[in-house]
Amino acid sequence: MNDLLDGSIQATRLIFSLDSALYEIIWLSLYVAGIALAFSAIVGIPLGAALGLKRFIGRRFVMALLYTGMGFPPVVIGLFVYLMFSRSGPVGALGWLFTPRAMIIAQTIISFPLVAGFTMAAVMGVDPNLRRQLLALGATGWQATLAVLVEARIGVIVSIIAGFGAIISEVGAVMLVGGNIENKTRTLTTAIVLETRKGNFELAIALGIILLLLTFLTNVAMLRLQGRE
């Protein structure tokens, strides 16, 4: 109990201490998750919308793949990215292993099925008559799809929130492909693992509280994007 209480006190103290190492770690966590999420949204939202609106051959198969991806263990994705970028792997010559780039790639693969899957579900929940009427009124296919996405925006934002939640809290893959290198690839989650291993439970729980706060604030910001009901 003492560690928990001391941890909360230390979390508060750390936030206001403007410790450069801490802010570097927070920045890297947000940077990697942010870029990965942007990639996931660029690919995942159109794919989710297409799966929700169109009927085409192989659609069920793609959906099955997506659902599998939503439950795929992040550490296995990390292992896959590691083997790809390893010195003896197919793209090892790029030298991206143990850099933020490899972390972004792993986190994109982790979050993209969540964004696409939840977007698909949200789009399917929109009354199909909306799209039909818009098309009848002379809207182009793109305009009608955009209108459906706007109508389904609550679900689409949820898809991004789910993707963000999955990668900001993820530790196995970023540890594996990032290497937890001080001042370079250390994130909040890998720092928590490290401080726990060092026996600094108080600092570890303080970092956990900071991570929780950060996730909370990000979600509040995203909910504002959803707009009013």
């Binding site: 490290l194 291993r197 026996g199």
Partner: protein, 281 residues
């Protein structure tokens, strides 16, 4: 060679052993623990972590006995009254490993400090555990013995422990276990400090690194076993802890330790060092 385990008639029950990853990863515990469990009717639960966390687990009363290698920390643990009955167990040694090409030209040096200084001077990549493990503590003491300028490396402040590291992009502090550090060093074709046992085990699996420096007396790595003080935490199984210590330092078990690794690596991974063993020699 190995005497069959004879039950002592005791039933000491469940024992939580917090230890360093090296004793577990090397396979030593898996080899010798069944003998203890058979003799003493015990069930041993092994928590394999860094020395820092193993000691913390002892302080928190989450382990009954600890088997670690960081003498100064062990002494501090005893002095603070967290431990009772500390015994020497065995030692192994550290080696500086690196790529076969040896760009820093340190192969064959017998002075570990001079070797590190050359790595720093040539700015070759060096991977550090950076996790407050016994290996990390040893590495820092070796750097301190060189004239390489060191900087405060306590990554996030407000912690009572401080760390040092050389400055520079070439020094990678990764905060991970020995196995992961060797993997990273292998990928980067970098230098690192490893305990011999873990290095040999990984080398047998195809690690593309070689031993560069060995034999310096400062690379000596002694292990101690300590029972957690039951007066600090009432849930400590002190009977089992003391039985474990007596067994681990006994002549028979020390004999087991001295043979461990011979079949697989052609050399023992640990050298027995208990009082009973040394008296018999």
């Amino acid at each position: 060679m190995v005497s069959p385990a004879e039950p002592t008639g005791l039933e000491v029950g469940r024992l939580i052993l917090a230890t360093t990853t090296s004793t577990d990863d090397s396979g030593l515990l898996k080899t010798i623990l069944p003998d203890f469990e058979a003799r003493y009717g015990a069930t041993v639960e092994v928590i394999a972590v860094g020395t820092g966390q193993a000691i913390q687990l002892g302080e928190n009363g989450d382990a009954d006995v600890i088997l670690v290698h960081a003498r100064s920390r062990e002494d501090a643990f005893m002095a603070a009254g967290f431990g009772v009955n500390r015994q020497d167990v065995m030692y192994n040694d550290f080696v500086i490993v690196g790529p076969a090409a040896d760009p820093a030209n340190i192969k064959g040096l017998t002075d570990a400090g001079a070797a590190l200084a050359k790595i720093a001077e040539t700015q070759n990549v060096f991977v550090s555990r950076g996790d407050d493990s016994g290996t990390h503590i040893k590495e820092q003491s070796l750097w301190q013995a060189t004239n390489v300028s060191l900087t405060d490396a306590t990554s996030i402040k407000n912690v009572d422990k401080t760390f040092v590291r050389p400055e520079g992009e070439w020094y990678l502090s990764v905060g991970q276990g020995m196995g992961s550090v060797l993997t990273i060093a292998n990928e980067q074709q970098a230098y690192t400090l490893s305990d011999r046992a873990t290095f040999l085990a990984r080398k047998a699996q195809g690690l593309d690194l070689e031993i560069m420096v060995e034999g310096d007396s400062r690379l000596f790595n002694p292990y101690g076993v300590i029972a957690v003080n039951p007066e600090k935490h009432s849930n400590i199984n002190i009977t089992a802890a003391n039985a474990f210590i007596e067994w681990l330092t006994s002549l028979e078990t020390q004999q087991l330790i001295s043979q461990f690794g011979m079949d697989k690596f052609g050399q023992p991974l640990f050298v027995p060092d208990s009082a009973a063993w040394n008296a018999a020699k």
